[in-house]
Subunit: 201 residues, 2 copies
Amino acid sequence: MPKLVDHEERRAQIIDALLRAAADTGLHAVTMRSVAIEAGISVRLVQYYFDTKEQLLLAAINRLTARMGERVRDRVRTAGSSPAPRAIVEAVLLEAVPTDEESRIFHLVHTEYAVLSITDPALGGQPFLAAPNEMEGFLISRLAAAQQAGDADPHLDARQEAVVLLSVSAGLGLSVLLGQRTADDATAVLRYHLGRLFPGS
Amino acid sequence: MPKLVDHEERRAQIIDALLRAAADTGLHAVTMRSVAIEAGISVRLVQYYFDTKEQLLLAAINRLTARMGERVRDRVRTAGSSPAPRAIVEAVLLEAVPTDEESRIFHLVHTEYAVLSITDPALGGQPFLAAPNEMEGFLISRLAAAQQAGDADPHLDARQEAVVLLSVSAGLGLSVLLGQRTADDATAVLRYHLGRLFPGS
DNA sequence: GACTTGATGGTATGTTTGTACCATAAAAAC
DNA sequence: GTTTTTATGGTACAAACATACCATCAAGTC
């Protein structure tokens, strides 16, 4: 054989090619051939590392959700050294607004997967429900903490406000993908809304 | 020939079959054959009324956006006899939450089209930008009117609040489609948020 | 040095798709 | 009553797809 190959690295390469192809032509138009071409390898190799197309699609969505979770946690950690509650909440929610090219690819393909999962039972909606539910709990705890610290109006219903926040960030992210708003506009709207929740700044 | 046929009616029948098929198996899985079967006619007839698949898809999205516009206007008219600003705004925004089966089909397929339009230039994003922009203007005017009437806090930025409202209703609608929330929960969250904008009830 | 085994390329195959073509019955036109 | 239209069915066809199969070459193993 030629040089021994790190399978995980090869698989990551192929998955990244799939993500680029999906962001370019749409997830529905992704074929074994287009992934192979984008990755610069033969179709046979894609088959070699992911036996079937379904397995490739599943591996891609797993990698995607894992990477998005990492990105959110990175943001929390970065903003979290000085744990101002508003800064943390803002960091988490702004991750849903695609700014750089990588985040645009991620959110576009993630949205395509999410919509696909509504009708395709083989994609099992778990990854699309687990992460938002986790985020909802996180936001509720932060809002409640801010209320006790006197940074947020104690009359607010933390649970409902958390759902509003998640919805508005998802809606804004989608509108940016659709080209209806720029990322800067979406950011400004989100900051405005946070300003209403956290009156002290 | 057998009986003369109303072309527009036949076309509407076929489009409705397409919408059902798309809501059932996903827009990407819709074929000339599946539409024909769902409509109970032969493939040849689908070709006869819509020469090509692309034309069928375009006719369907046009019918879809037209029907959704009608539904929103119906709601405004129904709630508009007593023009309490909050009631009108609430009616418009609640249209984005799928409750009955028809609205679920509409919003599911509409979302599938919207996501598809991001990568498919042949679908031309116009219908997905015109309607929201029109709604944004409508909401801004209502919010401003409510502020002048003393029903809403005059310190609010009507434009930003309108964007927040549209985003939150879009995000809530999507989360209902994804099975993350029930329609009732989404409705309650939206009403809660409106209660914060319109303190007088 | 012989042999196994991992990584790769190329090709064949059966299925599904959109579309084009051929056919027919029956209403309308004259 | 013949001759157009009009609405419909069935079938044929080329392209594209996922996948299975055959082949090869080089690095380890003994």
